[in-house]
Symmetry: C2
């Protein structure tokens, strides 16, 4: 049964940001405006859940309609996000109680939490505890992660755009290397995100539509690195196509579970150098095969690349934000809107729903049948799954040659509590 009392809502962004998480925020804010009899103000957490814990709330009603609309084409987290995982209820019940104290003080009856698996877990616990404390809060999760590792939902908003970025980038770099390979670089290595799952690396494979197209090799976290087979394939590609374009996931591992990135590069001072699997792979090729190489590490560029966002992804990110508010209005609780694939050939999708209890803390790995037999590329099944997710362009507006992204005013809400809370 839907609530009748008008209450405020709280929205927070969590974890690593994406090119489209603000499109979800836009969906939440624009939809909440349609329910003025039930939803008062929408407060946002400054720097995510930390803003709730420290009573540092942002009054989104102070933003113009135009600026809210511009969130749909602005990457990053407009209210700030954070990497702050609440402990379990047993370990730190005080945190959850504090959240509810703040929500109560600001008459917040709706909690929209935009994040990955951990965030869904937090939203679930707040829902449960608030009930037992006699101040029930409607908690709706909004899926977001470039890693595409949330269960139940067909895909996670944020993934489609990074997928498009890596596929476009390796196609372009592949063209470049192909034209120079005769006398210069023969092997190009591009490192992409994905510490635990190879979804992003897999997406680069979409660029290879015909034999010989880049990328020729993809290294996944799911497949133990086989140095001999890898070097053989690099050599074969160079001999056959004149060059070899490689995409490596930051999470690529040896058989024993060690990350390739931790191979142990040290700097001039003998300090262990952190990060960068691409140079490790490139150096290996140079040492063993002698080929001239170049490497790139896209890092944040990939997940922030709103200029080349997938239209499908932007649409879905907006839709899950919109659906979250509608779910709350329908009296639903402790659920998350999902993307349901209705058809692949002519891609159609709709919004579904999943209980937070089934989403929390479950990671969706790349299925085995999405990886080619040699472990170094994607299968047609994978291609069929991925392709619709990068479709369509939704360019931001440009001025003076640059994309125009909005910075909100982010005006604070006056504090109501005389208590403070220290973030550990």
């Amino acid at each position: 049964m839907a609530k009748v009392k008008k209450q405020n809502a709280f929205y927070a962004q969590s974890g690593g940001v994406t090119a489209v998480i603000n499109a979800s925020a836009c969906g939440v804010l624009e939809t909440a405006k349609l329910y003025k009899s039930k939803i008062g103000k929408v407060y946002a957490g400054r720097n995510g859940i930390i803003g709730a814990l420290t009573e540092d709330l942002i009054d989104t009603s102070k933003e113009s309609r135009k600026d809210i609309a511009a969130l749909a084409h602005t990457p990053s987290g407009a209210f700030g996000s954070c990497r702050y995982k609440l402990k379990s209820l047993e370990e730190n019940r005080a945190e959850y109680e504090r959240l509810i104290e703040v929500f109560k003080a600001h008459d917040i009856g709706y909690f929209f939490y935009n994040g990955g698996g951990d965030s869904m877990d937090t939203a679930l616990k707040v829902s449960q505890l608030s009930e037992s404390l006699g101040y029930p809060i409607t908690c709706i999760g909004i899926p977001k992660t470039v890693d595409n590792d949330l269960p139940i939902t067909d895909c996670s908003p944020g993934f489609g755009s990074v997928a498009k970025y890596v596929a476009v980038s390796i196609r372009e770099a592949g063209f470049d290397v192909a034209s120079m390979a005769k006398t210069s670089t023969k092997v190009f290595v591009m490192e992409v995100m994905g510490r635990h799952a190879g979804w992003i690396a897999a997406a680069s494979g979409l660029a290879a539509e015909n034999e010989g197209d880049a990328p020729h090799i993809i290294l996944f976290p799911e497949v133990a690195f086989n140095q001999a087979a890898f070097l053989q394939k690099v050599d074969d590609c160079v001999k056959k196509f004149g060059y070899c374009a490689i995409v490596v996931s930051e999470g690529a591992k040896y058989e024993d579970g060690t990350f390739l990135a931790d191979a142990g590069t040290t700097d001039a001072f003998g300090h262990k150098q952190l990060g960068g699997v691409a140079p490790v792979v490139a150096n290996l090729v140079k040492q063993e095969l002698g080929y001239k190489y170049h490497w790139a590490v896209a890092d944040y560029l990939q997940r922030a690349a709103r200029h080349i966002a997938s239209e499908t992804d932007v649409d879905q990110a907006y839709a899950v934000g919109q659906a979250a508010v509608e779910f709350a209005m329908e009296g639903k609780n402790a659920v998350m809107p999902t993307i349901v694939r209705k058809n692949t050939k002519t891609y159609r999708w709709e919004i579904g729903e999943a209980p937070l209890s089934e989403v929390a803390n479950v990671e969706k790995q790349l299925p085995k049948n999405y990886i080619s037999k040699d472990g170094m590329h994607i299968t047609d099944a994978c291609r069929d799954y991925l392709l619709p997710l990068i479709k369509g362009e939704y360019f931001p507006p440009f001025k003076n040659g640059l994309p125009q992204y909005v910075k909100l005013k982010n005006e604070p809400v006056a504090k109501k509590l005389d208590t403070t809370f220290e973030i550990e």
Copy 2:
């Protein structure tokens, strides 16, 4: 005086490719078609000048009009490029004589050479030697370099697009880091190209339109790295804005001329690791200030990024290709079309001309008054110069979410010589 005899033309791409060098090729090929009474076929060198030396010519007349037109939106070098610098006439006269032998065999009277300073030097020498050998060839240079270091011309085609890419990328990554800085990454380092000149690094500064915008710090090859001043500024930025976004040119140097990139990182096997100034700078920040960091190395992604090319750049690349043919038709020789800036406020440009003798082997450095007093950002004069060059978007066509780039058939021309030539 214009030639009357109909002769074939030879076109070659040289050095590092760009997002728009094929637009120059498109300008050459489409314009040559307008002069059928004077220009027979246009042959292209497979892999640049090597194709001429080895008599490996491509018959561009076998390509469809549609494919030629598609060159305007295709990055890389469609006929292959090479890093192959001809020695001086004194050192290797045989190479120049061989070029003229091949040109003579294929009735080539026009030589269009699309490259940087070295290539202009080669074109000049071919012009001079062909004259003295009694087989005069019209030699026209076509400017191309992402480094923007050619003299006389206001800018070099290829630069505007990489400039746009780096400005867009640091803006996007800056938004990303700003939203996460409270609990996560506080310092972001992006490495860009430019071994000898800081033009590309400077272009990133266009993204900083208001106080606090990324990038906060730019490290140029032209300014000796001042570690203390740098660290102080990083710390100031983090304290003032919550984060610090840094762009570093691959050519950034210490006072003694050593590259920062050569600071001496070694891999697990004790081998010196090549390249990557971004991790060096990031590690320095971590060690001295303790801030969490991320870094990106754009490498080839930046110069291949046709998807975010500058419209101004594409237009100018096409125009210099077109002008090269028109110059030849007007009987000019040993010249290069240039971009002449007519107005900056309301940007207007036109094609000018420079003698190859004045272009060859001269590098245009970033002027002193383009670098801010503290040596770590750009001035308004620099901004005024750069801004028009990144203006306008010229997106390639997309299909299935990916940009559609053309691969030419590149059919060989039958050899006429029974001599061969070994490339060293």
